[in-house]
Symmetry: C2
Subunit: 233 residues, 2 copies
DNA sequence: AGTTCATTATTGCTTAATTATATATCATAT
DNA sequence: ATATGATATATAATTAAGCAATAATGAACT
């Protein structure tokens, strides 16, 4: 794992430490090296270290108190809906069971988002979904990236829900999807997604029928979930 | 809004700035005062300021670059699943439409979590839900806090889903629920929740029937949603 | 054995100086 | 006039060094 330089030292260090923590380099509820030791180890100043520590504690990975030192918090308090944290987790321990759990979340969220979109999407938002669908069709011809087109389709529905929480989840979904889709397509043995089924989803949303929209998304996601679960046994 | 002193200066400043940003004191995509000005305004050192800025940027509220200064990011990039951010938002602009959106998220998540719990909850986890239900009953007699008992019930189901993402959402749900339940009970004119309906949920989970568990939770949440929507017109 | 007190490791906080990096300004050349 | 490029400037980035506050540990004293 090469760690290409980030925008600045603090971010670089935040990334390095965060990734190390997620990888389990430092035992949970045990200690990281002290600030002073981290300075030496990473050859940076105390301030840079402290700023990185503060960022990681803002993301729920660690806590730091005088004399006690810096402690890794239990996984349950890590903010997995922070895309940095999620990326670190996915790139260090991309387990199949985590993909299953992620897909279970999608099964909960995306059908509901589609139902809301069916009721409240603006013409511009519908055009955006349409556009993503066109990209998926292009991708079938090798004219676009199938992965990114697929992601764009699903996130554009979240945006069209006009619910701030769902909109906020676009980053989360697309981050995990970037790993998940690649995997499911791989085990299906196909390079891209089924454009027709995605077109169905858009139709139901356009027709303004929340129940049908919900069902259409549910169908496609349950399929993905079953595919993953079948590999888990 | 009194700002009681937090555990330390940096956290205090993070809270003050975060709350001010969410309240809209600093125009979005415009600038906060420069680090130097913030030092003067809050009478703290440069390092304390920088650490607070780093924490807020870790939560997606701001970005900071040389010459450009510190900018408030658009709301869509605020990490609303961070409990600090959520609390700031709820205590500064607790709008009814935000409660509606939150409840829509609950409608998506909690039925699915209950379905998973029906399939995979351990005896200890079931006991935990049971315990929360008992607290709700006690609260009916004035022997416990109805709000906290209700929250405990709903979060214990999330935990029993044995899905890391749902478990992670307990903090999010309970933070928003603390505002939401108080409001819905207020407009219903009752002090606590309907214990019988909650007991039904536990029964369906215990019986191991995911579909019925899902339906049971859906029912109770759709009710809450309709209540809120009826007040929005 | 328990309580108090000193020791000590570690983070918390301040100050100050230097460096890097964007942005804007202005001069120059086309 | 309009690009182009050099220069200035504002701002964060980074380092350094020291003192303060805090909490865990162990020692001393009932």
């Amino acid at each position: 794992m090469k760690t290409q330089p980030r925008q600045n030292l603090t971010h670089q260090l935040t990334h390095d430490l965060g990734f190390a923590i997620v990888r389990g380099v430092y035992p949970v509820s045990e200690g990281l090296p002290s600030e002073a030791d981290l300075c030496i180890k990473y050859n940076v100043s105390r301030s840079a270290t402290r700023e990185a520590v503060k960022m990681l504690s803002a993301k729920g990975l660690i806590s730091s108190r005088p004399k006690q030192g810096i402690r890794v918090l239990p996984e349950s308090s890590w903010n997995m809906f922070d895309t940095d944290v999620l990326r670190w987790i996915l790139s260090s321990k991309p387990s199949l069971s985590l993909l299953k759990e992620f897909t279970q979340v999608r099964v909960a969220l995306e059908p509901q988002a589609a139902a809301l979109a069916a009721v409240s999407a603006t013409p511009e938002q519908l055009a955006e979904i349409d556009n993503a669908l066109a990209r998926m069709a292009d991708a079938d011809e090798g004219l676009d990236d199938p992965l990114e087109a697929d992601i764009a389709f699903h996130t554009s529905i979240l945006v069209a829900s006009n619910n701030r929480f769902f909109v906020q989840l676009t980053e989360f979904i697309s981050t995990a999807l970037r790993v998940s889709i690649r995997y499911t397509n791989h085990i299906k043995g196909v390079p891209g997604a089924d454009v027709n089924k995605h077109a169905d989803i858009l139709d139901t949303i356009k027709s303004g029928n929340p129940e049908r929209a919900k069902k259409a998304v549910e169908t496609i996601l349950e399929e993905a979930l079953e595919l993953i679960e079948s590999k888990l046994d």
